[in-house]
């Protein structure tokens, strides 16, 4: 009985394997119009509509799994996209910084040309430290004595006068800004030639004041005040600031027409956002 079962099993297995091999051989041996190919076409004709129906019926299931797969893919893509976004953001920041720097350099070049500052041997410097308190009045720059920077040299940027050097090391210097309360700069109204002293309004460190004026001096809002430079021909009291460097614009006039009149100025240089500056390392040789 057992032998019979084994024989039967082996015979069926052999038959099935042989059938498969015969089918394989026959399929390879016949042409495209052969019997097996014809059966295949017939089965395909029968199965296709069923397959189509099954495909439609199973579409929601397919979509569900597709959605799950897409979600997983989307998560993987999201990671890549985030990395790409970070890299692009970094590039954007760098590009914007370069553009900003380029604009500053352009302004500075223009100032140098217009005011002929090349005679003052300007040394370009970058602001590397800022006074963080409300009475913001000094910055640190990355040039020092090795670059020819000395105390009391004027510092400008593309917008106008920034301040003067008050402390120097070999590689850095401290620049005291024009908004410091000790500041006294000889200023001239460029339109009328009226001269006075530019200082800081008490209690308003960002507000400059032009005073030491006479009652005859005509002042009005909107006028531009520039540095006077050295006004003495003798040269005993040279000004650290070259002449005609823009300081600020008159915003209002207090007690106009009197000897106590004062003009309030807004500085041209954005002192809160200083980045590139120039130290004028040679004194102004010109005089009025």
């Amino acid at each position: 009985m057992y032998d019979k079962t084994v024989r039967r099993r082996r015979a069926v297995l052999g038959l099935l394997v042989a059938s498969s091999l015969i089918l394989l051989t026959a399929y390879f041996g016949e042409s495209a119009g052969g019997g097996l190919h014809a059966i295949q076409r017939g089965v395909l004709d029968v199965v296709s509509p069923v397959q189509e129906g099954a495909s439609r019926v199973l579409k929601p299931v397919r979509d569900l799994f597709g959605w799950a797969g897409d979600t997983l893919d989307a998560k993987a893509e999201l990671k890549g996209a985030r990395r790409e976004r970070d890299a692009l953001r970094q590039q954007l920041v760098q590009t914007q910084a370069k553009l900003r720097e380029s604009a500053q350099l352009k302004d500075q070049e223009l100032l140098n040309q217009v005011h002929d500052l090349s005679d003052n041997a300007p040394v370009r410097a970058r602001v590397i430290g800022k006074d963080p308190n409300l009475w913001f009045d000094q910055v640190t720059i990355d040039q020092g004595t090795t670059a020819g920077v000395r105390r009391n040299q004027a510092v400008v940027n593309g917008q106008g006068l920034v301040g003067r050097v008050t402390f120097v090391t070999a590689s850095t210097a401290i620049v005291t800004l024009i908004t410091n309360h000790t500041t006294k700069i000889g200023g001239t109204v460029s339109e009328s030639g009226v001269e006075g002293l530019v200082g800081v309004e008490q209690g308003h460190p960002t507000d400059l004041v032009l005073d030491s004026l006479s009652g005859k001096d005509q002042l009005s809002a909107g006028q531009i005040v520039v540095t006077s430079g050295t006004t003495s021909n003798v040269g005993l009291y040279p000004s650290p600031y070259p002449r005609d460097i823009p300081i600020g614009r008159v915003t209002s006039v207090q007690d106009p027409g009197t000897d106590d009149q004062q003009a309030h100025l807004t500085p041209f240089a954005d002192l809160r956002r200083l980045d590139l500056v120039e130290v004028l390392t040679k004194p102004d040789v010109r005089s009025r």
């Binding site: 039967r8 297995l13 099935l16 091999l21 089918l23 394989l24 799950a68």
Partner: protein, 189 residues
């Protein structure tokens, strides 16, 4: 107890047709972890485990033939591979009579490995000019893992469908007699 052979044949035929149609119409279009599941070797292995080597081999042959005809592939190729899977799963059950719950998973994974590797090998033997790439190996591995996950539920489904039509297994009857003192659990109640 009479063996309900015609009923089993009908159920196997229905199971085979449904398996091939579902595989061709839906499963091949669902991509999971970069690959597709292949239900056919799982179902054939489950049939082999439940119905024995002869039934498994015959089921594998006809399902393979139907698949080759429906997909307009080389006729006889899938049959040859699936005969081996159905027969092997059946012989494993007949020789070892495994009882562990992990058997369907292990057999399903082995059947998938045999099907994918065997099919690829046959294709190479028949002269299909394809490089043996890392991609192919990765696909095969991913299919095996995915099928291993599906093997247990597929086995449970096939078992549920065929159980009432399966012939009584003498060894199972002996095992039950040993654990219940020769009586059916129902008769003891």
């Amino acid at each position: 107890m009479r063996v309900a052979v015609p009923q089993l044949v009908l159920r196997l035929a229905f199971l085979g047709i449904v398996t091939v149609l579902v595989q061709v119409s839906a499963i091949t279009q669902i991509e999971l972890f970069g690959t597709n599941a292949d239900l056919v070797p799982l179902v054939i292995a489950a049939v082999g485990l439940l119905a024995g080597s002869l039934s498994g081999a015959c089921f594998g042959f006809f399902v393979g033939l139907f698949l080759d005809l429906a997909l307009v592939q080389t006729v006889g190729l899938s049959s040859l591979v699936y005969v081996g899977i159905g027969y092997g799963a059946g012989r494993f059950r007949e020789l070892r009579d495994p009882q562990s719950a992990l058997v369907p998973l292990a057999v399903g994974a082995a059947a998938t490995a045999l099907a994918t590797v065997g099919y690829s090998l046959m294709q190479f033997l028949l002269g299909v000019d394809a490089p043996v790439s890392f991609l192919l190996a990765r696909d095969i591995l991913a299919t095996i893992l995915l099928n291993a996950v599906l093997a247990t539920p597929i086995y449970a489904g096939v078992r549920r469908m065929l159980l009432s039509a399966l012939p009584e297994d003498p060894r199972r009857r002996r095992r039950r007699a040993y654990t219940t003192g020769g009586l059916s659990p129902l008769s003891r109640a």
